[in-house]
Amino acid sequence: MSVLAIHAHPGRMTAWILSWLLFITGITAYFYTAQARHRENPDDRVTPTLAQMGQAFLDAALKPAQEEQANEAASQSLAARFLDSMLWKDTKATGRRFFYSMALLLPTVLIGLHMAVFPYIGAFLLRFFLFFDKIIALSLLPILFIAFGIDELSKVMLIVIGVAPTIILDSFNLTKGVPNEQIVKGFTLGAGDFTIAYRIILKQIWPRVLNSIRLNLKAVMLFLFAGEMIASTDGLAYRIALLRRHMGMDTIIPYVLWVALLLFLVDLSMRVLNRRLHPWFQA
């Protein structure tokens, strides 16, 4: 049977090998290129070797952010050194903005829910959010900097403005997708409008909403990085933008992988949480 047949299923080992093949190819191609470039020019900064990247990452993760603390750091434990490091300070700054944004995004689910459940609210808000959703959030960045200054608020607002309409419209559609039978059933069981909205509909759409937020994590990070790269004095994206000026690829690449790892962990924990909180949900 051809490998491109719908019924051609790879065996377990083949599937495992296939799933890692592109990673292995990419890594091999990178290090092959790095070796070749370093043979030609030992001071090449575009494709750092594994040792260079490892050293740069250790420096970022274990050396203190302030040069003057370097002498004290040597006597500290690994954990203490990490908490004083540039990597941790950048991660903390980005993480703070990320969690503020998420905290502001969660209530937007209720806007979508109310729009779908209560026709008057829907009539009032739907057209506005459909239009709002089409505005490119990054184009609002100068306006946000003028309106809110270049501090934290403008960056958080950029994320909220960029992602909120998607979450609102997603929640709206998910609510509309709840079968009408469930609403009628709720009324016949003596539930009122708000009881139906919160105890029947919201509880049913919540795992899907969490999935929707999970799928929007990348958009959240994208807007956060844009804000940090343009106007910030700390954060992972600020550091990447800063190092770009010095061609610090040996730190940029580990930073990019660190961000990907963090995002992967947030995504994984949301998935596990969703499964634990909603054992009835199978999707």
């Binding site: 039978e181 009628v184 105890r199």
Partner: protein, 276 residues
């Protein structure tokens, strides 16, 4: 008592129901039969107050209702249970929210009442023929027949004046279906709840109900009392007798005369026994 008076329903100039008049008395088990698209479910939704007629009115217990309420129990064909709740939580949900409202867990006396509700729900679990061990399961862990049993328990625990069932057994396999038919008949005999049962299966209607109302072309084509057939209907009904009965009802049912205002008695055509 359900009274439907000269009800018309039109969707964008398409007539779905035209001039329906009906009276369903307390304790009756009425089946609404007819082919797909004849307006059975629309009529049920009108009685449920889920829809409003283009003209005419629907009175349940003498009141024209604006939206579905706990006077009516409802068992649809699909999506009858809340997927996020266990069997027991599905059954107790109505008691909880109707007595304690949205923020039930924060209301005084809730946790004490909850124990009582759960004990009551377990009785209903047994009444509908489920095992106590099913009480903690989620709807997706139950078969279609078990889900409908829970849906019936969920509706009955509220002690509704009328029970509206919309093709409630249509998605079930024949074996499960006949089991469900026996169950609903037993419950009806025990509780004397008024039941309006929508089905496109005439055989099912005959074997279950005391009266059949046949809808066709947006109107009541005929109706007849199976009680007045003056013969005990064996349960289950033998195949040969079902065919006889269907022929008989089809021959004898006649268009229903218009209701007179103030007439509280059901106006339906009483059939004669099929075999003299």
């Amino acid at each position: 008592m359900i009274r439907v008076e000269d009800v018309r329903v039109e969707y964008e100039s398409k007539r779905v129901l035209s001039g329906i008049d009906l009276v369903i008395g307390p304790g009756e088990f009425v089946s609404l039969v007819g082919q797909t698209g004849c307006g059975k479910s629309t009529l049920l939704r009108l009685i449920l107050a889920e829809e409003t007629p283009s003209s005419g009115r629907v009175l349940v217990e003498g009141v024209e209702r604006r939206q579905p309420d706990r006077h009516s129990g409802y068992v649809p064909q699909k999506y009858s249970l809340f997927p996020d709740k266990t069997v027991l939580d599905n059954i107790t949900f109505g008691l909880e929210v109707s007595q304690f409202g949205l923020l039930a867990p924060f209301q005084p006396g809730y946790w004490k009442a909850r124990k009582k509700f759960r004990a009551q729900a377990l009785d209903y679990v047994r009444t509908v023929g489920l095992h106590e061990s099913d009480a903690g399961k989620y709807p997706h862990q139950l078969s279609g027949g078990m889900q409908q049993r829970v849906a019936i328990a969920q509706a009955l625990i509220m002690q509704p004046k009328i029970l509206l069932m919309d093709e409630a057994f249509s998605a079930l396999d024949p074996g499960t279906r006949s089991g469900m038919q026996r169950l609903i008949k037993k419950i009806w005999r025990e509780t004397c709840t008024t039941i309006l049962f929508v089905t496109h299966n005439t055989r099912e209607a005959i074997s279950l109900s005391t009266r059949i109302i046949a809808l066709a072309k947006s109107n009541v084509e005929g109706q007849g009392s199976t009680v007045a057939l003056d013969m005990p209907i064996p349960d289950p009904l033998p195949e040969s007798e079902i065919t006889d009965l269907i022929h008989h009802i089809e021959e004898r049912t006649q268009p229903m005369p218009a209701l007179k205002k103030g007439n509280t008695e059901p106006d339906y055509v009483v059939l004669q026994a099929p075999r003299a």
